[in-house]
């Protein structure tokens, strides 16, 4: 059953990648504001006067 240790290793590696990403997200302030991002995405719409016909 060597394979299971390889797979556990792979899974832990993936988890570590995500953990690093999580730390980066927290450090860089991705999670500081938990309100405006939800609203912001609703306001990205087109520039009215410049649309191609």
């Amino acid at each position: 059953m060597n394979m299971i240790f390889v797979l556990i290793g792979c899974s832990i590696l993936l988890a570590l990648i995500f953990l690093a990403a999580f730390f980066w997200a927290v450090k860089s302030g991705q999670n500081d504001d938990t309100y405006t991002p939800a609203v912001r995405i609703l306001f990205d719409d087109e520039i009215k006067d410049e649309t191609h016909d």
Binding site: L13, A21, P37
Partner: protein, 703 residues
């Protein structure tokens, strides 16, 4: 300083068309194989359209072609807008689109021809695996490139789901593709038996998680608020949802192998994590549904939102059912039955299908600057699609439950109540008919959608490059002094850093893993278990080519109901020479793990030629081409050599002796057949497959 730029809508449109076209093809093949389960004659009398070969075509087409293209459509549309940037490179977008379509076309050609690795949901042979890797990397570079040049510092939760999808699928695909090629379209997995099974279901489970779930959750978090024009119920919950889901999901794979020869601690690990998965999954579903609070009047009016609501509900049902099925007691009944087929279709038809339709109805009119052609037709699609799902799933739940219990039922005297497998199958054929009707309704809905969208496209005009503007991100910091050193610079680029570290990890992982593939494993070997003879090896590859594993398992679980029916339960040590493993996941026909010696050669010959003569009412298709086709023995040498490389103990130089042994065994079988009044030349494929079947499970004899 505000910058002007243009969103690329053309690639989004292209992926949308591909989604619809492949969706129709994949579902039509699905309907065809559903009909074959009622009338085997629906195989059109051809080996290229017979269940075993085109069932993988159906699964690959709906997962990687329909859902795959829909993912790219959704990602390319939402990523640009969330990051306020055009996709990183138009050239990469083009390569990504056409490369992915070429991969699908090569699957459509090779799978009916019988080129298959037999790993479920990863059947494509090694050259296509390499192509998938390349195109996936192209997608990744394009996505991370866009993230790097973004004009919005904050990355909305949808993007996190996309990143997790990319990273995990890359690792899964590579680990599950370690194969030793023996020719352009044939290879053997490096792992054997129980190890191969573990790799396959680690992959299979996580493919469901990171191909069918996370990208769709990302799309849900973008498109649902846009459709309802209100923010997601709780952004905080969405972040919690994301991180908890991706940390738990990876560990649940072994629940696909409960009661098999997998060590039980690994099984328990899989069960525990499966139960935990309810929390984040339902958190996500509730977050989506509550986004619509106070907007349910919109749901009444808009078919688009109806699709999203039913899609989310289906997600909730499937993710509740999944952990329940991972409980050993429930799994004991449900595994190998149509219950599982119903379960995956609630996810596929409800969650993936309905979300895709909702997004298509919302997105196509937008990029074509027009209104949807007909809201009525969209509403019709919604209702016939929902009815289709119900007519598909409910009969199959009933069928699975019925058959699972019939397999286990004993008489008062302690004998199997239904010793004849066929009896349990004939009981559920009416359910198969209802299922096919449900599938047909669902497909009819898709055709109506296609008409509606073509009409919509014709009345509008594609805005290929949509103008947008946003201020550039402020340059935050100019490195000075020691910060100019390479590593310091890299540290300031988290995305580049992440991609580079992934590459490093993968290289390291491969080097680390290689020795474990080549050294002898510590699976308890059984001295009586011997490698396959050359003829049996060839027969096994024919068994793989014909996709027998789609309907016949080779794994007897340690239940009295199974040992009474099939014989001694399967041991891990019996599969050490099985590259790949062929345990299967569904019993449309009986288990074959101990089939060897149960019937005569002549019985198998007649049964393969026309199953109905030996088992009246059987839904197995006839395999007459095995009698007409000559066995290709030119590959024997390379097959023996490859197996030896993988650790199967064939003597050095045996490959030159192999074809002589093969001929001798084939002639002996032909001679035996002749005594049973069957005349067939000894060089036919059917001889090899009979040799393989007669070998199954006889290495350990308990009775």
């Amino acid at each position: 300083m505000t910058e002007k730029f243009y969103y690329d809508n053309k690639t989004v449109r292209n992926f949308a068309i591909a989604t619809i076209v492949w969706g129709i093809i994949g579902m039509t093949v699905g309907l065809l194989i559903a009909l074959q389960l009622i009338k085997p004659g629906m195989n059109l009398g051809s080996q290229y359209t017979t269940f075993g070969r085109i069932r993988p075509l159906h699964t690959n087409a709906v997962i990687f072609a329909f859902v795959g293209n829909a993912i790219f459509m959704g990602v390319y549309y939402s990523l640009q807008r969330l990051l306020k940037a055009r996709m990183f490179s138009d050239v990469l977008s083009k390569i990504h689109f056409w490369g992915w379509q070429l991969i699908i076309i090569s699957a459509v050609i090779t799978l009916p021809l019988g080129f298959t690795s037999s790993h479920e949901y990863a059947e494509l042979e090694w050259p296509i695996d390499i192509a998938i890797t390349i195109i996936w990397v192209v997608f990744g570079v394009n996505m991370f490139g866009t993230i790097i040049k973004r004009r919005e510092q904050h990355m909305y939760v949808a993007i996190w789901f996309y990143i997790a999808t990319f990273v995990t699928v890359a690792v899964l695909h590579i680990v599950n593709s370690f194969q030793l090629p023996i020719s352009a379209f044939k290879s053997y997995y490096l792992y054997a038996g129980v190890q191969d099974a573990l790799v396959q279901w680690w992959y299979g489970h996580n493919a469901v998680a990171f191909f069918l779930t996370t990208p769709y959750l990302g799309m849900m978090y973008y498109f649902l608020p846009k459709m309802a024009n209100r923010p997601v119920y709780s952004y905080k919950l969405s972040i919690l949802h994301f991180w908890s889901l991706i940390f738990i999901y990876i560990w649940a794979g072994p629940h696909h192998l409960l009661y098999t020869s997998l060590p039980s601690w690994a099984q328990s690990l899989g069960v525990a994590f499966s139960i935990m998965l309810i929390a984040p999954s339902w958190g996500g579903m509730i977050n989506g549904l509550l986004t619509l609070r106070g907007a349910w009047d919109k749901v009444r009016e808009e078919a688009t939102l109806k699709f999203m609501v039913v899609g989310l509900t289906a997600y909730g049902m499937a993710t509740f059912e999944g952990p329940m099925l991972a409980l050993k007691q429930i799994n004991a009944i449900a595994h190998y039955t149509d219950w599982i087929v119903a379960h995956v279709h609630v996810g596929a038809l409800g969650w993936n299908g309905f979300l895709t339709f909702g997004i298509l109805y919302w997105l196509i009119p937008r990029i074509y600057r027009t209104e949807l052609y007909s809201k009525k037709l969209a509403a019709f699609h919604f209702w016939i699609g929902t009815l289709g799902i119900i007519f598909y799933a409910v009969p199959l739940y009933f069928a699975g439950f019925t058959q699972g219990l019939m397999w286990k039922e004993f008489t008062e005297e302690g004998l199997l109540k239904y010793p004849n497998f066929l009896e349990t199958l004939l009981q559920i054929i009416p359910m198969y008919m209802l299922r096919a009707a449900g599938g047909a309704m669902y497909l009819a809905g898709v055709l109506v959608m296609t008409y509606n969208l073509i009409k919509t496209v014709n009345q509008g005009k594609l805005l290929a490059d949509e103008p947008a503007e946003a201020p550039a991100l402020p340059v935050q910091y100019t490195p000075q002094g020691t910060d100019k050193k390479l590593h310091r610079l890299l540290e300031r680029k988290p995305m580049v850093f992440m991609v580079l570290s992934l590459v490093v990890i993968l290289i390291g992982g491969m080097i680390e893993m290689m020795p474990t593939f080549t050294i002898k494993s510590n699976i308890p070997t059984i001295s009586t278990v011997k490698p396959y003879s050359p003829l049996e090896l060839q027969g096994r590859d024919l068994y793989i080519r014909e996709g027998c594993v789609n309907c016949h398992s080779q794994m007897i679980r340690p239940f009295r109901s199974e040992t009474e029916r099939y014989g001694e339960y399967s041991k891990a040590g019996e599969f050490v020479y099985d590259h790949p493993f062929l345990w299967g996941s569904k019993r449309t026909g009986p288990d074959l793990a101990r089939e060897g010696g149960k019937y005569s050669n002549a019985w198998h010959f007649n049964h393969l030629l026309d199953p109905q003569t030996m088992s009246p009412g059987s839904i197995m298709p006839p395999y007459e081409w095995l009698i007409n086709q000559q066995l290709d023995t030119t590959t024997t040498i390379s097959k023996i050599n490859a197996m030896r490389t993988l650790g199967v103990p064939y003597d050095l130089g045996y490959e030159h002796q192999a074809n002589a042994d093969l001929k001798e065994q084939a002639e002996a079988i032909a001679k035996d057949l002749k005594q049973g009044n069957v005349r067939v030349q000894s060089d036919r494929e059917i001889i090899a497959i009979i040799a393989y079947i007669q070998r199954l499970g006889i290495d350990i004899r308990t009775k």
